[in-house]
Amino acid sequence: MRIIADTGRCVGAGQCVLIEPELFDQSEDDATIIVLNETPEGELVEKARQAVHVCPSQALSLED
């Protein structure tokens, strides 16, 4: 599985970082998303799904 982040759509709400700081971080300049680990495994897969579900700009998606 791969995490796809559309930084152009991202509105910097930081919900993904709250859900899993091992997978996501925010740019210090404008708070937009930085994916730390694009290919999560194990328990992190579920965290990635949660992040996709709550992202307010629907900037995140998963690719099998």
Partner: protein, 401 residues
């Protein structure tokens, strides 16, 4: 067409812990339905979770509150609008909105806010010391709910806390539905003038606070304008204290009414953030801030909405939609409520949301940890809930211990 509106908006509540009963009716019977507005106009009320998210995250809906066709939720609201006035962030659309939001957003990253945690804890402890040193019963709104977020946002922005009575008083006028339009306008103006003067002073030697750093950053980008920053400061100040204050008060009542839920966070503070999400969902204190104007025809929930028509995305209805939340009228801190829309959704989603989460988390853990015998000193039925305000909450909350 007048016969097609079955409901007037706003709709009345019958219980302080639930949305107006009419929300459930429209959500189940006609999820996108026409409602009559106080000024005689009408708008589409969108009531299901999925549809609310669509409205708030689609560019075919505009947030331009200064547009003459934008739905007016308070009678005479148009009179308090000034089309020539500085456009606030909440009224901007793409492509203007993104850069303006991102200019300040770096101040609100999870990492930046985490660094504030010790100071917020200190502020909360200081206010609880004051409550405990005062008379019993004491008013939680005065001693804790309002001062905590006010002190925090003042320190962040670099606004002297000594002036908090001035802007608190004007904030009340801004959000009260019964404030005459001219008075509301004057109150907005007063806070913005205050901000403008404060920022003019900071320009001379920009201090290391949010407003000072914005001056430096925007000057470097070549986009600095004093009135624009004053508008941003106004929004952050007003949104930054009133909303969190109301959530502190309401959540305290909800915890005391649901001792089994309170026991869960006391036993395991690791659950407090979940409780914060559930409280946000359960109360959804800003239900109607998420009005929009349709600027291009679109179908939502099976209903055609045309350009020029107003839409009310009912966040409180979405957050009680059984399609999105099982047993939605129950308070259940373990439900996993994160997909609520209490902070809105889409490009305008609350930019201070993670600050609010942290403040609420620290307050809940500290308040109930330090005062385990806390109880209400007034019957719930008699509590002064803000039924007349655009942001729901409590005017006072007498507590004892």
């Amino acid at each position: 067409m007048t016969t097609t509106e079955k409901h007037e908006f706003p709709m009345a509540r019958t219980c302080p812990f639930a949305p107006p009963p009419a929300y459930e009716q429209i959500r189940e019977e006609e999820p996108v339905s026409r409602v009559r507005l106080p000024d005689g106009g009408w708008a589409w009320a969108v009531s299901r979770h999925e549809d609310v998210r669509t409205v708030l995250n689609d560019r075919r809906f505009s947030a331009d509150r200064q547009h003459p066709d934008f739905p007016q939720l308070v009678k005479g609201e148009a009179a308090s609008r000034r089309p020539d006035e500085e456009r606030l962030l909440i009224a901007m659309d793409a492509p203007e909105h993104g850069p303006a939001r991102k200019a300040v957003l770096g101040e609100f990253t999870v990492r930046r806010l985490e660094a504030l945690r010790p100071r917020i804890q200190e502020i909360v402890d200081g206010q609880i010391d004051e409550l405990l040193a005062g008379p019993r019963p004491g008013d939680l709104v005065d001693s804790l709910s309002l001062p905590v977020p006010s002190l925090v946002i003042c320190e962040m922005l670099g606004v002297p806390y000594a002036d908090h009575e001035f802007f608190q008083e004007h904030t009340v006028a801004v959000i009260k539905q019964s404030t005459p339009p001219e008075e509301r306008w004057a109150a907005v103006r007063a806070i913005q003038d205050y901000m403008t003067d404060l920022i003019a002073e900071k320009e001379k030697n920009p201090p290391d606070d949010l407003l000072g750093r914005q001056i430096v950053k925007l000057r470097a980008d070549g986009t600095y304008r004093r009135t624009a920053l004053a508008g941003m400061g106004f929004l952050l100040l007003v949104a930054g204290h009133e909303t969190t204050a109301n959530m502190i008060s309401l959540s305290t009542v909800a915890f005391l009414r649901n001792p089994e839920q309170l026991a869960m966070i006391k036993a395991d503070p690791g659950r407090t953030l979940n409780a914060v999400e559930e409280m946000l969902r359960y109360f959804t204190i800003i239900d109607v801030a998420t009005a929009r104007l349709c600027v291009e025809d679109i179908e939502v929930g099976g209903q055609r909405i045309r350009a020029g028509e107003g839409v009310l995305a009912l966040g409180y209805s979405a957050n009680r939609d059984p399609r999105a939340f099982e047993n939605p009228d129950g308070l259940d801190i373990e439900r996993g409520a994160r997909h609520h829309v209490a902070f809105g959704f889409g490009p305008h989603q609350c930019l201070g949301q993670n600050l609010a989460r942290m403040e609420l988390q620290i307050v809940f853990d500290t308040l109930f940890g330090r005062i385990p015998t806390l109880e209400l000193a007034m019957d719930i039925d008699e509590l002064p809930f803000k039924d007349d305000a655009n942001i729901y909450g409590l005017y006072q909350l007498p507590v004892t211990w």
